[in-house]
């Protein structure tokens, strides 16, 4: 069991390291170093000491050093919580990101909760009432849920929201709460606004999970212990809820492993479409302005969050399933 946790942790750390390398590559990719683009920006605004300033930046970030030295210096600064300067905003990256990262995670979690809440009953229903009209309709809906990319769904929903309610359905807060301090009313407002993003982002995961749940439960339903329970006269709903569903539940926990990256990933574009104040629109504008410290930091933080999420799901799974706990 300990060795299993150890292996997971090691792999997680290794993944985080790989993410950090990828983020650094993304920072380095645009032609010219960021001092050059900063210089261009300063010159544009008519700053006389621009060249001096650029030299100072070059020295500070060690841009004249070889790449791998730069990488380790960058990594060292990141580990101290210094993500560098956002040249577009002219403020430290951590300040620009602010609570957007937390909101991104809130949106992703809401989507996953929605996925679970919907997929569990529907999955059980489709398995127990196999090949009925209801099962067929739900399966077909599931296919559509899988096929429609979430940002297109957001686009279409936004249009219908506009036509039906005459107002934009985007954003995470109503106007009066935009800059208000946190309060119960603001949280309620946020929850109300979370519904659409959660549904949009959760729908494809829901469709997948329904299929997994249905297949797993179908495997279990034919087993002798179910027949035994039924023969002994257990009420049907209690029989199904207490035994086969529990066995079929395991993939639910492991599904976070693939749902989480998927939802975080989809949230980027959906946030742009629905103009949510998450890291999505920020990443897009940072990339468009080639504000690479900001973009790199966002990619890195999203990656790290995902790895942690996956790790947590692995641990939950281990706690749930004795076969994994004692298997190795």
């Amino acid at each position: 069991m300990l060795s299993y946790i150890g292996r997971r942790l090691a792999l997680g750390l290794f993944t985080i390291w790989a993410v950090s390398v990828l983020s650094f590559v993304i920072i380095q990719l645009p032609p010219g170093d960021f001092a050059t683009s900063y210089l261009a920006k300063l010159t544009e605004s008519g700053n006389a000491s621009a060249a001096l300033e650029a030299d100072r930046i070059r020295a500070h970030y060690g841009l004249d050093q070889p790449l791998f030295v730069q990488y380790f210096r960058w990594l060292g600064r990141v580990l101290h919580g210094d993500f560098g300067m956002s040249f577009d905003w002219n403020r430290p990256v951590s300040e620009v990101i602010g609570d957007r990262l937390a909101l991104s995670m809130v949106v992703a979690l809401a989507a996953i909760l929605f996925t679970w809440a919907v997929a569990l009953p529907i999955g059980i229903y489709s398995a127990v009432r196999k090949y009925t009209i209801g099962d067929y309709i739900l399966t077909l809906l599931g296919f559509f849920g899988l096929a429609v990319p979430s940002f297109l769904l957001a686009l279409v929903l936004m249009y219908f929201g506009f036509v039906v309610f005459g107002a934009s359905v985007g954003g995470l807060y109503s106007a009066p709460f935009e800059h208000a301090p946190w309060s119960i009313a603001k949280i309620m407002d946020l929850l109300k606004h979370l519904i659409i993003p959660a549904v949009v982002l959760g729908i494809s995961g829901t469709a997948q999970l329904i299929r997994i749940m249905r297949a797993n439960l179908l495997d279990e339903l034919g087993k002798p212990y179910v027949v035994t329970g039924r023969a002994k006269g257990l009420p049907e709903w209690r029989l199904i809820g207490k035994y086969p569903v529990r066995v079929a539940l395991n993939p639910f926990a492991s599904s976070i492993g693939f749902l989480f990256p998927q939802v975080v990933s989809g949230a980027i574009i959906v946030s742009v479409v629905l103009s949510l104040p998450t890291v999505g629109p920020l990443l897009l504008s940072a990339l468009q302005a080639q504000d690479m410290f900001l973009a790199g930091a966002i990619v890195l933080l999203l990656g790290v969050m995902t790895v942690i999420g996956t790790l947590v799901s692995d641990l939950v799974l281990m706690w749930l399933d004795p076969r994994i706990r004692h298997g190795r």
Partner: protein, 421 residues
Amino acid sequence: MVDDVREQILPTAHPPEGGVDLADADAVLPATDAGLAGPDAPPARPASPAGSGTTTPEEEWISVATQRQLIWARFRRHKLAMAGAVVVVLFYFVALGADFFAYADPSAADAGRSFIPPQRVHLLDGWRPSPHVNPIRGERDPTTFQLHYVTDTSQRIPVRLFARGYPYKFLGVIPTDIHFIGTGRTRAEESLFLFGTDQLGRDIFSRLMIATRTSLFIGLAGVALSLFLGVLLGGISGYYGGIVDTVIQRMIEILRSIPTIPLWMGLAAAMPRDWGPMRIYFVITLIVSFIGWTELGRVVRGRFLQIRGEDFVTAAELAGSRPRRIIFVHMMPLFASHIIATTTLALPLMIVAETSLSFLGLGLRPPAISWGVMLQQAQNIQAIALSPWMMLPVVPVVLAILAFNFFGDGLRDAADPYHVG
């Protein structure tokens, strides 16, 4: 969001065994079709139980059918997959003859006819079939100067098949000006506006045709590249095993556990602004396939591991065959059909990836025309509230993804005709 299509397939194919750690699930091999070696091996299920002498003609046919016939028979049973196959073929048909199906120059802008709503086509004149449209005239409101369009019902413009339109090269070689449909007239207001026009007055139907070509072929190119990567790395991983296998498998795991879209965005944004459309096209394909190969890699590795232990592989090894010969001559034919199925399932991923990137303005850029580029104009609520037909490219995107998924699903089920599903 994009990973979903890839994941969708796995669980139902081989339902995860209770709580087996997903990361290692592929190490647990489905034992169902082990032992069914070469294409010429007898089917595992004897056509008739030994002893009983009665066989129906149906069963007799199965016992002598070649693998290809079995695959086809199995595929045909899958109704949705057949429908998917038809739609896929139609899509590529449109893609090949994109200029032929477009009736207006897709890049011809005309500010005088921006945002024309989709036009109604009348198929009948009384009871006589005579497809025609009414001309559309733009009028400016004298006080607000806003442009709005009126349909002139007093006149008719017949819609002809194989009408003359703008010149192009059919399949890129044959110069012609014949299009599938059109009015054959040259004046702007006498043209067709089946799906309306966009802000710059470009015809949406014609642009959709060209966009279909771009988006589908970027998908094909991307899938070809990831096929190469997947087969190469998956093959090496499965054939040699050991430390190489571990390294490649960890690499795949890492790539799969990182959110892909930010990564794509980061890579795509690094392209210099002044690059030409061809170079951008190429780089986008590269980026898209860079992450798309992992699923293929896993499938190939799984099959390799499964087949490597077979007697005929050992026999070939003992006979002194080189690895390359064993892989390509003895092992490849066995799982080629699986690879084709997985490739088909990877295509919609590529299409979504390109559409997402272009939609965000990080992928293909105008003057290139793709589904994503067209949807970019539908990004803000004002645009789609006033002219909802700008959202039309959503339809082919969803249709293509569904069709490819059904098609690939059916192929995957059929790829292993001995497997009792």
